[in-house]
Every structure is written in structure tokens, then in C-alpha cells.
């Protein structure tokens, strides 16, 4: 198996007429990494993937694979293999013919192809299914055949375009682990496109979060969740409560935000935005539902929120309590299910507290639409 090869995108712009699909993307993907592009549909992540695989040329900038400029090199000459969103298995070919297609077009004899296809079928745990047609396989099996077909071409970089989106939840979760396993085993670079943050966070070494053609943040999944760089990332990845207001004072990496509804609150400044915030700026502060705790803070009122309960939902492992927030949006709090009947009653005024180091504040910006 070939080892990982680095992929670099340098100042990539992709335009379709007047429409800018990708705006000044700079991404460095290490060899052997599992790298994800995460973003809502239409944000340009598939366009980037097509630029890497060679189906379209960037309007500006360079795509480097293993340090080599890919300009003018067609998809059939690049060391990449793409797994399509709809898998694009050849419906008229048998499974083994599908898998060994890359060898067939290279002019390799049927016997050798069959042998290699059988090896790969073993790897994806589909022994003896080589003579079936793709239509006779289940969704997860098709998925694995598509992976085997791409791997058969011995690519340096495997590109995956939301390959799990068509599967049901259980299978999707199973395939996540399986994909990660395969990636570790073959050791090549995986570039994964998804709008599902769960997939991106569980599988990736690094994630790029995209919004309307712009890459907002590139970091490890952990950092993206805990230290979002922009309001978009904070609201798109995971659930988050937003508190709008103005910066009242700044002290090192902490700031006091005078929020529109909940009074003055203390928060950590997002690391990426240190130095970008000044007193009096419009700001957004984010606190995750699981960070909020019942009861007032003991030491300071600057980390206590008081609000009326609007609604409560039981979700099995947690209770979700919705409280009145600003701008018509509710504040959500998650309370682990420890056998209680309920947490609150409608209209009740609750005091909640949080650890200021778990809250982040950053300049006001665009949020991810619901």
C-alpha cells in the first residue's frame, strides 16, 4: 500500500460565471491524515473536492498533490480516487468487475483482476459476493464495494463525497468506525466531505469548516468544538446558546459582556479572536447546553443566568430544558437523566450557572441558519 501523500491547496478561487464557489482557500493536508471538509450544503466543499480530483480546474491558485502541481492533469491521470455521493457503482457489471475496473482499463488480464478483486472483497468482508450485481447488495455492502473499487486503483489520496449520507443511522455509525479502520490500515490520505458534524468529529484528524465558499477554521475536531473561531463555527458545530451584547471590559483572555437580556456575563475570549475584540464592540457569547448547570453561581453573579422555563423535553439520556432567551431564541440546557421525573415546570424562574472558561466570546457575526 502506498503511504500518505500531502495535499496542498494554495490560494484557490473557483468561480462559475459571477458566482464565487470557493474564495481563497488555503489548506495543507498532511500525508496519511483523515481530513474533513465540514459545512452546510452549497458551501463549496464538493467543489473543492472536484478540484482536487481533477473534474474542474480552479479559477486561481494551485492544487498540489505530493508536492506536484496538478494543473492540466486530468482526473484519470491523478493519484486520487473519488467515492461518489451516490457511489456510482456500474450497474451492469458484477461486483468483482466493478472493483477491478481500474485494472481493466489499464489492460490487466481477467485472471489477475479477479484475484485482486477477491483479495479486496476479503478485506471488506464480502467474500464470495463477487459474482453478484451491485443491485443485489444492501446499502452498506454497496458502500464497501465502492471503497474497494477506489482502493483497487492504489490511489495516494482517497476522496469521499458524503458517502454515508444515504445510509440509515445505525449503519452510518458502523461505517464511520469501519472507514477509520480502513484508513489506518491502508495509511493513505483521506479527504472527506460531509455536512454531518458527527462524522467529521469522530473520524477526522483535522476538520475544515466552510461557509459560503470560505473556510472559517481548520483545526482538530476537539479544538473546533471547544474553541470555535467564528460565530458560524460555534453555531454550526454542535449545539450552542448565543448571547448577544457588547464588550464591557477586557481582562487578559477574559471579557465581561453586557448581554441584551441576561445582564453582565463573564467569558473566555475565543483564542482565534484574541486582540480582535475591543471594549464597546458588538459581541456574541456562546455557552453549550451541557455546560449550563442548575443553581446560582456561588462566587460571582457574572456567571449566573436567570430565565423563565418555556418548555422541557425528555430525550432519554438527557432532559432538555428550554428557557426564554433573547431575540426570541430559547436557551437550551441539557441535564443528564439521573432518574428524576422532571427538572422544572413551565413558567418557573430558574437560576443557571456556568464555568466562564467553558464559555467563549467573539466579535458578532453570521450564525449558521437552523
Amino acid at each position: 500500500m502506498s503511504s500518505g501523500v500531502a495535499v496542498n491547496l494554495e490560494d484557490i478561487w473557483i468561480r462559475f460565471g459571477d458566482f464565487v464557489a470557493v474564495r481563497d482557500a488555503n489548506v495543507n493536508i498532511n500525508g496519511g491524515d483523515f481530513f474533513s471538509f465540514l459545512g452546510p450544503s452549497g458551501c463549496g466543499k464538493t467543489t473543492i473536492l472536484r478540484a482536487v480530483s481533477g473534474f474542474l480546474d480552479p479559477s486561481e491558485g494551485r492544487v498540489l498533490i505530493g508536492g506536484k502541481d496538478m494543473a492540466g492533469i486530468g482526473p484519470n491521470k491523478r493519484p486520487t480516487a473519488l467515492i461518489f455521493q451516490n457511489l456510482a457503482l456500474f450497474p451492469l457489471m458484477k461486483v468483482w468487475e466493478n472493483i477491478s475496473f481500474s485494472m481493466e482499463v489499464a489492460g490487466i488480464g481477467a485472471k489477475e483482476r479477479r484475484k485482486r478483486a477477491d483479495e479486496l472483497l476479503d478485506m471488506i468482508a464480502l467474500e464470495g459476493q463477487g459474482d453478484k450485481l451491485p443491485s443485489e447488495l444492501s446499502g452498506g455492502q454497496k458502500q464497501r464495494v465502492a471503497i474497494a473499487r477506489a482502493l483497487c486503483a492504489n490511489p495516494d489520496v482517497l476522496l469521499l463525497d458524503e458517502p454515508l449520507s444515504a445510509l440509515d443511522l445505525k449503519l452510518r455509525q458502523h461505517m464511520r468506525t469501519e472507514l477509520r479502520e480502513i484508513q489506518k490500515r491502508v495509511g493513505i490520505t483521506f479527504i472527506y466531505i460531509t455536512h454531518d458534524q458527527g462524522e467529521a468529529l469522530t473520524m477526522s484528524d483535522n476538520v475544515a469548516v466552510m461557509k459560503a465558499g470560505v473556510i472559517d477554521q481548520i483545526d482538530s475536531g476537539h479544538n473546533i468544538y471547544d474553541h470555535p473561531a467564528t460565530p458560524f463555527v460555534a453555531s454550526f458545530v454542535g449545539e450552542n446558546n448565543v448571547f448577544r451584547g457588547k464588550i464591557k471590559s477586557i481582562n487578559g483572555n477574559e471579557a465581561i459582556v453586557s448581554t441584551n437580556r441576561s445582564g453582565d456575563l463573564l467569558s473566555r475570549i475565543a483564542p482565534a479572536q484574541l486582540g480582535n475584540l475591543n471594549v464597546g464592540d458588538d459581541a456574541m457569547m456562546f455557552i453549550r447546553p451541557e455546560v449550563l448547570k442548575l443553581g446560582p453561581a456561588e462566587e460571582s453573579s457574572k456567571s449566573t443566568i436567570s430565565a423563565d422555563v418555556m418548555n422541557e423535553e425528555f430525550e432519554g439520556n438527557t432532559f432538555s430544558v428550554f428557557l426564554e432567551g433573547d431575540g426570541g431564541k430559547s436557551i437550551k440546557m441539557s441535564v443528564p437523566n439521573a432518574g428524576q421525573d422532571h427538572i422544572s415546570s413551565r413558567g418557573e424562574n430558574l437560576s443557571l450557572h456556568y464555568d466562564p472558561s467553558n464559555a467563549v466570546v467573539m466579535p458578532a457575526g453570521e450564525l449558521a441558519s437552523e
Binding site: 484519470n76 473519488l82 451492469l92 475496473f101 482499463v105 486503483a153
Partner: protein
């Protein structure tokens, strides 16, 4: 329910009328092929005969017409299927704003009358030859004035559009992702076309080929202008209609009808068999129990009808070899002559009675018409031969061939009598 059964009866009646409208003419035409009457007719029914098949197979013009029709059909299939496939692929690739204009342009030949296409093909290639400086007697001139060449081109100019429509319908269901996947896996564009798109298009190519062949085979409007010194089945038939037809045309129609039904049934039977096998394989249907029928025919009505039809045809061909309607014909002829005799006598009596002069010609034509319409009545009366000019082949071949209907076609002795 009363209204329910009323609706059902009305529906049945409607279907009956509808199908008799569709199939009635075909049935009548097929029947005329077996009537010995020399003009295609069902009533009065004279004698059951196979002689018109005999006449058909011995007609050099029809044989040549069929031969050239098939050659032109094959040429048209090759040309129009490849042009139609190319046109439909371009349609999917062309710039979206240009698409409807392109589509209209490609579809236009279907809307243009065939006559216009025929004349314009003729004129265009003649002028092109002149423009290229092809002189009389040169190869290029010969090609541009060759009936087969011009007819294939003329027919393909609009049949390609039909083929394209078939391809476009199939292409709309093609996932272009498959081509991209092939390219991504290292295939060249040619390989992607040959290994992915072409196999996908195969059913459409088959149906477009059949469509193109049938459209070419039955085309008259365009062909009549472009065929020049050749002939196709349609032009031969058109000529025959002008000169007066006999039931050998009905027998040709009968053969075509039987072949069509046979092909349709075979197709249906094989497909039904395939569906059934798949259903059994997937466990949706129990395999048919033991039966005297072979497995292919089990639960397959089309297959059963197909086999029965084959038996009927074999039976017909074998009887045609031995069956001779001469006795019946002689009787019919005798009856006719008797009738004519009576009529002449009656006329004579009337004339004698009235003592008025009648037009003598009326009796003469009266006498001649039945003689020629008695088909083989003239066979035994050599004197009649000279009076019959409409169907010389019919009259001359029959006595030579004797009773075997299809046998005559293969009788070398007959060749000399032709023409």
C-alpha cells in the same frame, strides 16, 4: 351491481369495435390471399388456394424489391443509429442555453414532409457532384446518382431523428457520475464511452435499430424520389397498384403479418420466461409444478401461442406442397361458364324477343372478365392465354409448377418462364 356490469359490457363493446377497426383490415387482407379470385376479395369466395404465394415468390420485381429494401434498411440502420447516438450525446453536452435550439434543429427532419426530403436529397447531391466537378461517367458522379446511396442518405436524414429520440429517453436516465467514476479510476474517455455508456445504451440501440429498419422498409415518400433506377418493395407495390393488383400482394402482407406476430410473441415469451425465472430465484414465486409442457412454456401464454402459431405455419406450408385446388377451380369455372351461358342465352332470348339490336361489345366484355378472374380457369384453355395481359406471370407459371405453392419458387424450370 347493475351499473357495474353495464360499464363492463360497454367497455367490452368498445374494445371489440376498437380492435376490429385496428385488425379488421389485416384479417380481411390475409383472407384474400387464400381466395383464388384474381382480384383481392373475400366474397364471393371462389376456392381456397395457395397459388398467390406461388405467384409472389415467382415475381422477380417483388423479390428484387425486397432484396434492395433489406440492403437499404441495413444501411439506414447503421447510418441513422450512429448519427442518432452522436446527436443525442451532443444534446447532453451542449451548452444549456443552446439546447432547445439544437433540439429543434435535430428534430426538424421529422416534421419536414418526406417528399421534400426526397427531392432535396436528389437535388443536393446532384449539385454537390456538379460543384465538385464530377463529370458523367466518373466514380463520384456514379455514386451521387446511385439510387441505393441516395436512398440510404435520404431516409437516414429523418430516421436518425427518430433514433435520437429513443436515445435521448434512455440517456436521461444515465448517471453522468458513472462516466466520471470511470475517468476517476483511470479510464480514458474512449474507454469510459465503450465500457460504461455503450453497454448502458445497448437496449436503446437495439430498439432504435428495429425502429430504423421498419421505418426504412416501409418508406415510400422519400424513396420514390431517391431510388432512381433501383426498386424497393414499396416502389414495386406502388407500381403494381397502378397497373392493377392481384392477391399476391395480400399473400406478402400475410407473410409480413405472421412474421411480425411471431417476432412479438417470441420476444414476449422470452421476456416472460426471464421474469419468471428471476421471480423464482428471488423466491417471490413458486416454481411451476410438474406439467406435460416443457419448462419454457409453463405459465407463459405468449410461448404457447407462439408454438401453436409455428405449428399452424408448418402445417400450412406442408399442405401447400400437396394441396391442389384444381378440382374446385374447375368446378367454379364450370359454374361460371354455365352462368355466362345462361346469361348469353337469356340475352339472346331477350334480343330475339325484342328484336332490337343490342351492343355486341357488352357480351364480349362480360365473357372476358370472368375468364380472367377465374384465375386458373384459363390454364386448361390455351386460347385464353392471349386474352390475359394483366397477369402474365400468374398464368404462365402455374401450369409449369403444377400444384406445389412454395415449391415453384425453387423450381429452376420456372426461371425461364419469368419476365
Amino acid at each position: 351491481m347493475k351499473s357495474d356490469s353495464l360499464i363492463r359490457i360497454a367497455l367490452g363493446a368498445y374494445l371489440l369495435i376498437f380492435f376490429s377497426y385496428l385488425l379488421g383490415p389485416l384479417v380481411v387482407m390475409s383472407l384474400t390471399a387464400f381466395n383464388s379470385s384474381s382480384f383481392p376479395s373475400v366474397s364471393p369466395w371462389a376456392c381456397f388456394t395457395f397459388e398467390w404465394f406461388d405467384v409472389l415468390f415467382n415475381d422477380r420485381h417483388i423479390r428484387e424489391g425486397i432484396y434492395y429494401s433489406i440492403i437499404i434498411g441495413i444501411g439506414t440502420v447503421i447510418l441513422s443509429v450512429s448519427m442518432g447516438l452522436a446527436a443525442s450525446i451532443v444534446l447532453t453536452q451542449v451548452w444549456p442555453r443552446l439546447r432547445s435550439t439544437y433540439y429543434t434543429m435535430i428534430i426538424a427532419p421529422i416534421l419536414i414532409p418526406g417528399v421534400v426530403l426526397g427531392i432535396s436529397t436528389l437535388v443536393f447531391w446532384d449539385r454537390l457532384g456538379g460543384f465538385l466537378g464530377a463529370t458523367e461517367g466518373s466514380v463520384l458522379h456514379g455514386l451521387f446518382h446511385n439510387g441505393l446511396f441516395l436512398t440510404i442518405l435520404g431516409q437516414s436524414s429523418f430516421i436518425a431523428s427518430y433514433a435520437m429520440l429513443v436515445f435521448v429517453a434512455r440517456l436521461q436516465r444515465f448517471d453522468t457520475g458513472l462516466t466520471e467514476a470511470a475517468l476517476d479510476l483511470g479510464a480514458t474517455h474512449t474507454q469510459a464511452f465503450r465500457k460504461i455508456l455503450l453497454p448502458f445504451m445497448r437496449p436503446a440501440i437495439a430498439s432504435a435499430a428495429v425502429l430504423a429498419f421498419l421505418a426504412s422498409f416501409e418508406n415510400y415518400n422519400t424513396t420514390t424520389f431517391t431510388i432512381i433506377d433501383y426498386k424497393t418493395l414499396t416502389t414495386v407495390l406502388a407500381q403494381k397498384v397502378r397497373l392493377g393488383i392481384n392477391p399476391s400482394i395480400s399473400s406478402l402482407a400475410f407473410i409480413i403479418i405472421v412474421l411480425t406476430i411471431f417476432a412479438a410473441l417470441t420476444l414476449e415469451a422470452t421476456q416472460s420466461h426471464k421474469r419468471r425465472r428471476e421471480a423464482v430465484a428471488q423466491g417471490r414465486m413458486k416454481p411451476a409444478g410438474k406439467s406435460i409442457l416443457p419448462s419454457f412454456m409453463r405459465g407463459n401464454i405468449a410461448a404457447i401461442i407462439c408454438v401453436l402459431l409455428a405449428f399452424v405455419v408448418i402445417f400450412m406450408v406442408t399442405t401447400a406442397q400437396s394441396y391442389s385446388p384444381e378440382m374446385c377451380k374447375a368446378e367454379v369455372r364450370e359454374a361460371r361458364q354455365l352462368e355466362i351461358q345462361e346469361r348469353i342465352e337469356a340475352l339472346n332470348a331477350a334480343r330475339a324477343e325484342r328484336e332490337a339490336t343490342e351492343e355486341p361489345t357488352s357480351t364480349v366484355t362480360d365473357e372476358q372478365a370472368p375468364a380472367s378472374s377465374g384465375a386458373f380457369g384459363g390454364v386448361f384453355d390455351p386460347g385464353n392465354l392471349s386474352t390475359d395481359t394483366a397477369e402474365p406471370e400468374a398464368e404462365t407459371t402455374a401450369p409449369a409448377g403444377g400444384s406445389g405453392a412454395f415449391g415453384n419458387a425453387f423450381d429452376p424450370g420456372n426461371l425461364e418462364t419469368e419476365d
